[in-house]
Amino acid sequence: MIRQPEPKPEVLSRRDEIVAALRALVPPHPLSGESVIADPLRLKPYETDGLSAYRQPPLAVVLPSTTDEVASVLRFCHANGVRVVPRGAGTSLSGGALPMADSVVIGLMRMNRILEVDFDNRLAVVEAGVTNIGITRAVEERGFFYAPDPSSQLACMIGGNVMMNSGGAHCLKYGVTANNLLGLTFVTIEGEVLRLGGAHLDAAGYDWLGLVTGSEGQLGVVTEVTVRILRGPEGARAMLAAFGSVEAAGRAVDAIIGSGIIPVALEFMDRPCIHACEAFAHAGYPLDAEAMLIIEVEGSVAEQDELLARIRDICAPLNPTSMKIAESAEQSAAIWKGRKGAFGAIGRISPDYLCMDGTIPTSELPGVLTRIGEMSRRYGLAVANVFHAGDGNLHPLIMFDANDPDSLRRAEAFGAEILKLCVEVGGCLTGEHGVGVEKRDLMGVQFTARELDQQRAIKSAFDPGWLLNPSKVFPLAQAAG
């Protein structure tokens, strides 16, 4: 089990009193019922997130419905020295929403209203608990969409996306969450309600929006988000190009970008991943390939044809083992089907898996995959790799058995070694899943002690008592204070 800060005995011993106080602050919701959960059985769903190897029930869960309620809960926790863990949908893959025994979880899921859609200004104002896909659904009738599209988009919430600065398959063209935000309603640990940004681009002054985005629930609680919405292209279509070696696929990526084409998505899968996805989704993936690219382009049908033909001509000299250009939206969807189900596919062939998330300079891919293969043999654990090839974000999926403690231990060590390798070749520990608890003890691999001190000092500027999600991001020994 991951190490947590010592629970505060004075908080644990006041549990009933704290729960009663929270009940007074956040009365039952007329439709959803009770707003404060303290019953151990009903706390279960909140004891873990997408990193389910780690579990810890909190002291209590509170489910506010308004910004004012969030502010009053934070004011209370601040006054009483109670630790707080904000939570959206709990899909974090880095344990970002993992509670502590003495913490109050603030769940934002009841704040799920779309407050405003403004097509003329290309923005939407939504509450933090609206799902990522919920934003697109609210604007798609006019052909608009919210661009960052994490694969968890059916479940994950915009507040969680902001706090993790989440990406998606289309961020090569459209950017990540930080690039698609205009404003936030943000509540500090003191319970002050701040409006950061607004309906305009680029507010003068310190870039609060930029600093808070990706801060993993450690600077404050987001209750409302103003996002940019974009008009979608006329259409989009995918192609598939398979190669006999990882190097050839890597050269194809270089050559495509080098030609001046920025595909809207450029995804890479290695052989184990192709096989797992094919067995799961029957997408027609080439089982003889060592590596496969999914390349998606946008525009009118004629533009799609031209771009796909150019990409085909770029790939041809690299001796692809096969290429398939989708002729229709259905064929495109079929090409994507396997990739979108990749995590589920691995879940079918292995009882458990760890999804790693380093980023590397794209030119390092062949060398890095060779070394991951060596590690896989050394640790005796299978691995499948998916890679956002355009932006260098690598997702090795390490397969293990959580019922076997030794298997989990080896998987963790394997994962840590991969992430160190990512840093060694010029990349970073996490491209989109965040540090959370999972990678906090590796932060010293990427940052110097002084750099971590500087980041901690900024966290302290927002939260001097280290009450907000304190066990995350920073190596534990030095976290508090």
């Binding site: 090569l172 507010a203 003068a204 985005t213 990706g214 980023t359 260098g392 996490t430 491209g431 110097t448």
Partner: protein
């Protein structure tokens, strides 16, 4: 004032700041100093310039990444990119609004200055992948890195971009870049007035044709104009600009400007040239909700100021007399958006808030974050706000 310190190495910058820290002696921080007349005047005995800290340190066109030391002239970075058919995505303004000169990359990033492509491609700060900087204690620190996707730790790149040297001295910057589009064209529409112009821009930006620039020039010689730019492969541009023209027919008679004219038009819009501001006049930029742009222009006109709109209506470039009354008019008109006093004589800049004031809890946070990076307040004191 003694000669500026201009170390040729990062270690020299760190030493200079460490010395200032020990001596409690404020430093004016600058690159080439082209934007000295922006924001508030800085009271400091010494100036620390990054101009000697020059040179591109890494350029991997196929990875869409370039890194350069902070004092590298912007023009040098742009030329290196152009040689590989690439560009800075945010299309930052030149130093023309301040009378010209060779702006440095560090200065442009520290000011988070973005041009017309902001509307489609993002701000300067959006493309800062990594920085090296010296904080107010003289410590050399890094944030981000050289890869396109990175959420490891707090994003100090965005915090320092736009902080005008008040939180740290940037020494090296790594940026995401993109291929330069093969060609560009502009749809130029004669519109009834600015409000109609912004409606045309909203319709264009709400179309699937990928508009990468959207401006309204209310005082053009031919009358009010709405301009929409498309950049892409040549065959795509021809098709899209035609479709856009058909879509926007109801807004007025239009023509299509070719690539050469497009480049000249948008360079002018990028640099504030349509204002034709006299040297004695003040310049502002206000960032507002796009559909508020016309209302802001009208209010400014009442107050004897003039302006035009970029960013789909959301960026208002403003020129007028360098007086407290004119500044008050800009401040009032921009609300609830944001504004920046870009250029004015020292007396005005020292007397007024040059950017919007923050409500008390946010102002307190500003002071605490400033103290976390620059505990003695020695870096560009007072440049953004009095007393900070």
């Amino acid at each position: 004032m003694s000669a500026p310190l201009a170390p040729a190495e990062e270690a020299g910058v760190a030493a200079a700041v460490a010395e200032a820290f020990a001596a409690n002696a404020p430093l004016a921080v600058e690159g080439a100093g082209t934007k000295r007349a922006m924001l508030r005047p800085v009271q400091a005995a010494r100036t620390l310039s990054t101009r000697a800290l020059a040179g591109i340190t890494l350029y991997r066109p196929k990875e869409l990444v370039i890194a350069a030391r902070a004092g590298t002239p912007l023009a040098e970075v742009e030329a290196a990119l152009a040689a590989e058919g690439q560009m800075l995505i945010a299309e930052p303004p030149s130093a023309a609004p301040w009378g010209g000169g060779a702006a440095t990359l560090g200065g442009v990033v520290a000011a988070n200055l973005s041009g017309p492509r902001r509307i489609s491609g993002g701000a300067m700060r959006d493309h800062v992948l990594g920085i090296r900087f010296v904080n107010g204690r003289g410590e050399v620190l890094r944030s981000g890195g050289r890869v396109l996707k990175n959420v490891t730790g707090l994003d100090l790149c965005k915090l320092l971009a736009g902080s005008h040297g008040t939180l740290g001295v940037l020494t090296e910057i790594t940026l995401k870049v993109l291929p330069r589009p093969e060609t560009a064209a502009t749809l130029v529409i004669r519109v009834a007035d600015a409000a109609a112009g912004v409606r045309a821009l909203s319709a264009g930006l709400g179309s699937p044709f990928g508009v990468s620039g959207a401006a309204v020039l209310p005082d053009a010689a031919e009358g009010p104009l709405a301009l929409l730019r498309i950049e892409d492969f040549a065959s795509f541009v021809a098709y899209r600009i035609g479709r856009l023209r058909d879509l926007l027919l109801p807004f007025g008679e239009s023509r299509i400007a070719d690539a050469a004219e497009t480049d000249a038009l948008w360079a002018a819009i990028r640099d504030g040239a349509p204002l034709a501001a006299g040297p004695e006049e003040a310049l502002w930029r206000a960032s507002v909700k796009p559909t508020d742009g016309p209302r802001v222009l009208a209010a400014l006109r009442e107050a004897g100021l003039r302006g035009y709109l970029d960013w789909g209506g959301g960026l208002v470039w403003i020129a007028g007399p360098a007086t407290a009354a004119a500044h008050a008019a800009v401040t009032a008109a921009a609300s609830p958006g944001s504004f920046t006093l870009l250029r004015a004589p020292d007396a005005l800049r020292a007397a007024v808030p040059v950017i919007p004031e923050e409500p008390p809890p946010l102002a307190a946070l500003s002071r605490r974050v400033k103290a976390a990076l620059d505990p003695k307040g020695i870096l560009n004191p007072g440049r953004m706000r009095a007393g900070l």
